[in-house]
């Protein structure tokens, strides 16, 4: 293991086997990267063991520039991801470049951080934990029995709202009298700008504020149960009095529990089954969800691109700094392709809004901003 070392003082023969720690480390790193490039999976472990702390520092450095926050567990997962990412690209790294592998592959580090930020779980708050504790033994936690199906996609929700819109229930996309940016980040439906319709008991937002659980859970999502006598779908109450046939409530459950991602402010959709709510609005004051669905039909937007646009906009609206990194795995696409597809769909809808007057209000949607 005789290696040449630099230095002004003439080297003694017996010192040729000893070298500064830094040089040894560099050689060690080169060896690890060579093994990685050769496809040796054990080298991933070596990299993780010996350079994990440096990679963790790089991960934390990237995470500091992102809006979210990574805890130690997330950092650990991201470090693992980076190690396996480095194994994939190790053949392209050269020590002559002078950069450490995790600096050279900084975009992959950033991708791992963004994925970790986009997949954060939200712990149950105290109220939800109490509700789960009150459930009888053996009961399956989750939505009401009738709503135990997998969470519908954003596109399913959009289509359902469009159908309801067509049936004059009037959940609305854009309230012409409201500012478009009133929707809190993190609320899935606020991405498309769904606005609240006041029910007979007053604005549901006020009701939610009175019975809410700190802005998290179904109440925060503002999905009011049908009928004026039913209280707001506070988790505890819906637990005791589920509404199996109510898809809106099921959706609220699914959103609150499956996604666990929610804003801290009331969401602005109310599916109140009240004729007053529908009649109370002037017909021209808002734009229906159906208009967006119609515009997508008219624009020839494929089902995949619709889903992609909604998911992309949701991630972006939630504060995810790299929404494409989170959406790409859902569609088995590359990040750049996700960005292109989302932009293509957005531009197509904006062109439609510019060319046809009846689609013009769509240009105000946060979805297309």
């Amino acid at each position: 293991m005789a290696r040449v070392r630099s230095g002004l003082r003439p080297r003694r023969e017996e010192e040729t086997e000893v070298e500064p720690q830094g040089c040894e480390k560099e050689d060690d790193l080169q060896q690890v990267m060579r093994r990685l490039a050769a496809g040796d999976e054990a080298a991933v472990v070596t990299l993780y063991e010996r350079y994990g702390s440096s990679i963790a520092a790089a991960v934390r450095h990237v995470a500091r520039s992102r809006p979210g926050r990574l805890d130690d567990d997330d950092v650990g997962g991201a470090v693992l991801d980076v190690c396996f990412e480095l194994a994939r690209v190790a053949g392209g790294w050269s020590p002559e470049g002078g950069a450490l592998p995790w600096v050279w592959a900084r975009h992959r580090v950033a991708g791992a951080v963004d994925r970790a930020l986009g997949q954060q779980a939200q712990s149950l708050d105290d109220q939800r934990s109490e509700v789960l504790d009150r459930r009888p033994a053996g009961a399956v936690p989750g939505p009401a029995p009738g709503a135990a199906a997998p969470e519908p996609s954003l596109l399913d929700t959009l289509n359902r709202l469009a159908a309801q819109d067509a049936a004059s229930r009037r959940p609305t996309l854009v309230d012409a009298t409201a500012a478009p940016a009133i929707h809190p980040p993190g609320s899935r439906l606020s991405v498309v700008g769904v606005s609240r319709v006041s029910g007979p008991g007053g604005p549901s937002g006020q009701r939610s504020a009175g019975t809410g659980s700190g802005g998290r859970g179904p109440v925060a999502h503002g999905l009011a149960a049908p009928g004026p006598a039913r209280p707001g779908p506070c988790l505890g109450e819906s637990d005791r009095d589920p509404a199996p046939g109510d898809p809106a409530l099921g959706r609220g459950w699914a959103e609150a529990h499956s996604r666990g991602r929610g804003g801290g402010a009331p969401e602005q959709i109310d599916l109140t089954d009240s004729p007053d709510g529908a009649d109370g609005e002037s017909p021209g004051a808002s734009v229906g969800v159906g208009l967006l669905a119609e515009a997508m039909d008219r624009g020839g937007v494929s089902i995949r691109d619709r889903e992609l646009l909604l998911e992309y906009a949701y991630e972006k609206h939630s504060g995810n700094g790299a929404p494409a990194a989170s959406v790409a795995p859902m569609f088995d696409m590359r990040e750049v392709s996700v960005r292109q597809a989302a932009r293509r769909t957005r531009e197509r809808l904006l062109r439609l809004a510019a060319s046809e007057e009846r689609f013009a209000p769509l240009a105000d949607l946060p979805l297309l901003a």
């Binding site: 070596t46 702390s53 934390r60």
Partner: protein
Amino acid sequence: MSGGRPSRIVPSGRAVRVVSGTTARSLVRAEARAEARRRHPAGRGWRPDRRRMLKRLADRAYVGGAPWPRVAAAVVMVRGIAGDDPPTFARRVGVSAATLAGLEAGAEPASSVPGCLRALGGLIDWTWVDDGTRSDWGC
């Protein structure tokens, strides 16, 4: 710097069970380095989560169709910690290169794992390795 052969100071990390020969020595060095990094302020408390890495390796082996994914993960993990290439590691643990390749591919059951690897306490939870086959995967 005068006289005498410079000696390397190996940080005295937590105790590593010395098993036999060179395998143990390399693991001692690796452990000592890892321990030194753990103590260093620059590490800021980060330490490798070997259980997580092991699970990830086992998942990859399972996806790759290995009949014994946990065995594959464990052997790859130990070799990775030792920092050896396959021929060197095979010599150290006293198995043929083909046997080692079979173990790392998950083609061999847990009973084929050399005893000197099983004696490496603390690195791998061998009961976890022994418990798992491809058929009962899914945890």
